[in-house]
Symmetry: C3
Subunit: 142 residues, 3 copies
């Protein structure tokens, strides 16, 4: 009888503790940051790209996942004629994901031919930001 008790108590305790430990250590594994760019100001676009550099310096390039979502008034950052084309390419080479919102592209009648090469696309920029927040990513406004 005592063995059964000890065994079950250990089982319960172990399950609860391991759940807690998992909850505490899981987010520490890798930082994950979602950045919203939704304004037309070039200084905001530049700043978002600075954020990529800063976050990689802070955490180490391999310890942080960064996604910039350009939507609404921010879509110009990822258009073919973006004044930041070179910096955008650099950020992608560094490992950041730059995602254009296809809802915005539809509203502005933009196709992938109008956009910078090699960027990513998401069906809906807001949906992506919401999904990432729910997955535990940190949110940074533009």
């Amino acid at each position: 009888m005592k063995h059964v008790f000890a065994f079950l108590a250990a089982l319960v305790f172990g399950a609860l503790v391991s759940g807690q430990v998992a909850a505490q250590t899981a987010p520490a594994a890798k930082e994950r940051v979602i950045i919203q760019v939704s304004t037309p100001e070039q200084r905001v676009w530049n700043q978002a790209l600075n954020y990529v550099e800063n976050l990689q310096e802070l955490y180490g390039k391999d310890n942080v996942e960064i996604e910039i979502v350009a939507l609404g008034w921010g879509i110009g950052m990822l258009k073919f004629d973006s004044p930041l084309a070179t910096r955008v390419a650099d950020s992608m080479k560094r490992g950041a994901k730059l995602q254009a919102c296809e809802v915005t592209m539809g509203r502005q009648k933009l196709t992938k031919q109008d956009m910078l090469p090699d960027i990513g696309y998401v069906p809906a920029g807001l949906g992506q930001i919401i999904r990432r927040q729910k997955e535990g990513w940190s949110y940074i406004g533009g």
Copy 2:
């Protein structure tokens, strides 16, 4: 003895699993999004109203709760002479809540007579945004 063990193990396991399942499915029930509008730029106000349309198309009108809180420099969006009066009314007809911050109204000596008809009011815009975040709503900056 073996039956007791099996029963208890099942109880523990069931409790833990159901807790996990609840945690994973509860937020999926309905998307909930709080949008902060705190700048005086009309393009930001327009964009916030675009967000309502986009989110309802994305999730389905009945599957998402949307609240726009206008505060500080953003309060003009909900004033009687708002250039977006028609779009604001449309968004409310679609089911979005548009909430004016009464702290801001007090600072600017605005009464409900100065505001668009049928909008909602919150005692403090910041307090509402904070409360919603704590309730698990996703946050979108203006």
Copy 3:
């Protein structure tokens, strides 16, 4: 046998319930709000300082911790020649923390001599905002 069962069931039930209660009451202890200031517009800086007053009126001065992080284009808010020097000092006297981002200071070759007296410093503004979000603070965009 029945005693063992009852004891273990109570143990499991108690552990689960106490976990839930802790999760619900812990965040209510004190409101904690992190405010990002990353634009050069003086009206945004002023508004962030309004937020301090509003939050303290809303929750009571002793029931809310407020941190404003100035980074990127927002660093001017905390520079020696800030047009808001007096209001910044007032906010600090009220108990809010105003933190300058040292990454931004490095990029702009600013030293602590270039900054307002008595402000705080964080090695990286983004890192601070991310850390606070993960600690459960509410996030307010600038």
